[in-house]
Symmetry: C3
Subunit: 370 residues, 3 copies
Amino acid sequence: MADEPRIIRKLTGNFLEDFRPGQVFRHKGGKTLTEGLFATFTEFAMTSNPLAKNARYARTTGFEGLVSPPGLTMLVAFSQTVEDVSENARANLEYIDMRFGAPLYVGDTVEVETKVLNVRPSSSRPNLGIVHVQSTARKNIGASDEAVIMTWQRKVQVYKRDPDAQLHPGEVEPDAIDCPLWLPPYDEKADYGSLAHLSSRDSYFEDFEPDTLIEHSRGRTMTSEHIHLTAVLDNTSQVHCNQYMIDLNPKQYVGGELIIFGGIPFVLCLGLSCPNVGDNAVGDLIYRTGRHTAPLFAGDTVFAATEILDKHDLVEREDLGVIETRLHGHKFVRAKEGDDPDPEAPEGWRKVPIFELDRDVVVKRRSHYG
Amino acid sequence: MADEPRIIRKLTGNFLEDFRPGQVFRHKGGKTLTEGLFATFTEFAMTSNPLAKNARYARTTGFEGLVSPPGLTMLVAFSQTVEDVSENARANLEYIDMRFGAPLYVGDTVEVETKVLNVRPSSSRPNLGIVHVQSTARKNIGASDEAVIMTWQRKVQVYKRDPDAQLHPGEVEPDAIDCPLWLPPYDEKADYGSLAHLSSRDSYFEDFEPDTLIEHSRGRTMTSEHIHLTAVLDNTSQVHCNQYMIDLNPKQYVGGELIIFGGIPFVLCLGLSCPNVGDNAVGDLIYRTGRHTAPLFAGDTVFAATEILDKHDLVEREDLGVIETRLHGHKFVRAKEGDDPDPEAPEGWRKVPIFELDRDVVVKRRSHYG
Amino acid sequence: MADEPRIIRKLTGNFLEDFRPGQVFRHKGGKTLTEGLFATFTEFAMTSNPLAKNARYARTTGFEGLVSPPGLTMLVAFSQTVEDVSENARANLEYIDMRFGAPLYVGDTVEVETKVLNVRPSSSRPNLGIVHVQSTARKNIGASDEAVIMTWQRKVQVYKRDPDAQLHPGEVEPDAIDCPLWLPPYDEKADYGSLAHLSSRDSYFEDFEPDTLIEHSRGRTMTSEHIHLTAVLDNTSQVHCNQYMIDLNPKQYVGGELIIFGGIPFVLCLGLSCPNVGDNAVGDLIYRTGRHTAPLFAGDTVFAATEILDKHDLVEREDLGVIETRLHGHKFVRAKEGDDPDPEAPEGWRKVPIFELDRDVVVKRRSHYG
């Protein structure tokens, strides 16, 4: 070309002033769950429920085949919303009323839409504010098995493009989304007992006692693998994968380095808790609220614990019950000189809570499956 | 064994003096595209065209299912040629007349053959020279859907085994390979509009203007993941995965460290440009020429930009058009003391072009699909 | 909760004093082989046998489709035993009488059980001892193609929970497990020759000469990818993935850093040897004995060599033969000041053997397949 070409700088994602209450995003892409994605994400997190690992077990239990664990369903659905909602976010603040519906299988195609409920400025930082949205994920749109697989709200802290821009006012009520958790029917003739050795022996409904805290024994160190994992999910947020952007202006970013996508510790905590809490679960009913309390970086080792808050029967299903839990994630960092000793950590270390999730799980009763 | 065994040192790959113009390699292995490979490579590069992500979208568009994006097809086909052609290469110099034919689907099996066109010594370095080859990839040989999926030439700089060896003389013309790009037929009754929200709104044929340069907004930092990615592709070149070999003699190797397989930045640049250039593409027609202009190492962040050179109609397909583009990849490195300021980079940094590809893409018209 | 909850510290895995000779573990989980797992593990190790890469080749050879290479079968089966047998192990000491049976395909579900044969204290270290077990892996239990795919013994060094605990006495004989290697029938009408270019030309039965040592040319550097790979296999042993545990007490752990799961170098050595020894194999018959002779860490580059010990005919199969081999793995480390020069390593380096496996392989004869 003789002359210099005209330059077009493409920006992706929305900034705070772009969001309008009532606005609906029908997110781009959509995602068919392949066996590749299934294997990568089910297992990096040490998920141990055989429904997600053993097709014979899953079919005998009443599912069509290997079942996507709730953490993978959440990662796939959530990530579809990132470009429109949080590509330019600083942090995800809260998960609210996250509910699961139809099971997700390999071969299913997920598409997601999001409604903006509310946009608020930050009181202290003029270049930031909070967007409150409601998202719903459906599978196999147009096919006979079309169904809602998940719906949730979240609040996310988003940068402004222009610190002086006005925000769109208004507040919209969340829609009432019908998203009943699908449960496999109980078959009196099935030989469930012949499968019982494949899941842990001490995680039936009868085993959980309110007012206990179960400390899960395993830890898992995250590496720079998080960059690849995040890309494979279609999560395009640059704070997870663009080291150059961080290097240019480290102080603007949490921790001054690439931050691990919150979906990763979310799913890792679910996985680490699985042998003790999730091995005999048939589905996660609701995450009432959840939040990240500290960032996670490559090199950190993640641990988890589960508080059993309460338990109750499930209407019309005497083979199952619901346990109400609070899932906690934490890591340990080396104490700095002058830090007070931390009674919850070995000498020279501090325990840092990173994640919290109020989680109701539907679990099998030993009386029927054990 | 009582005596010392006889030692056989196996070498793999050919050296410069082994290549004979006219010689044909029917490459070993072959590769069936699994859902594992598909998921890993479609998505690590942030490809956003729904044809490669959403089976509902792909089928409604007229394909059989999820479609391998051109970058993945290229990685699978190209890597099959590495052992015979470039296992002992120093660098890949040029891609020429790279054309795509039939679509590649999960479950298809790819096999490749290569003809040597020409072998030339280096004028300045007695232990190196250039091999010029033509390769063709077919799928499902012997089955009813056997087809050419890709054909290309490349020039590659290869080491000699013996610096004094004579090279095979001669020059062979490339074969005329029939490799027409398969395009899904346009169906007047299909409801394409119901899918339009799944791809970007500003990447239809009507949107591209010659003499513009589109700067893609995202960057992607590469990690040591490249070693695994390269192995999974069957690319056996030791400069990508054998740190000990580099450590023994760092000066012999570009950059003195493991160099990332050129197919990785090739595909990453295609992926980074996808939201703006490839979201509404139905296929890549031809890469007339392409080259790597600087090496990529673990830790580098890759960016891309696309020049729109020209656009034209496609015979007998008024629903589609062709855009002629030049894809540029670049990275930023920290400036050294004494470097002149770089007007294209922030203070303290230099912009380094890493890749260039002349690329004709067949894209949808908004008039028919928007 | 008003009061502090009762804390339950879950431990996973057994300690030395928990094992009872004669005890049988029916391991939890089970694992369906997905295309994701298949792609990741077949190819990270540079396996080159087309049976594991090219479905057309595999079917023409007489298999149902892509065949899991012996290394992947071993990783999947072995990992199922980790939680019960070696989650609290210090090191795996020996593989014994490891035999392969039915082929493993994508979609098959593997379940494993293990019998404890013997438990012995360490003579020098009161907190350690050795467990000797026998494990058997079956596929598709309850279906028409249920079959034993693998059986093996191993000795593993396990920590005691309490250094003063008494061990369970006794010794149990290993069971006689029927596990014949399945071989594809030879079809006189098949055109095997049309596939011969897809595997290496110099690895037929006729090519192997007893008392030779084949040095395989490739090396492969391992990265922190090992943490992900190990998790994806359901191997939950903390010495592979819990950096914090190591940091708290580095001296307790081999090398004072995360050690790479032994299955990784096992499979990597098989893969590196594949072009020269495994390309024309139809199956691995038996690994009589095998052991890790040094640990592997992230950053190490793995090399392999194969001794041909002997070769013999296979009863009733004149198209095939058996080669008896010893597979050696090694790495190089930088020599320390004062080290004697190592005649097997370049100056400044020492060669460190890491793995050894006595391995009988069934390979094609050129007379029938070449």
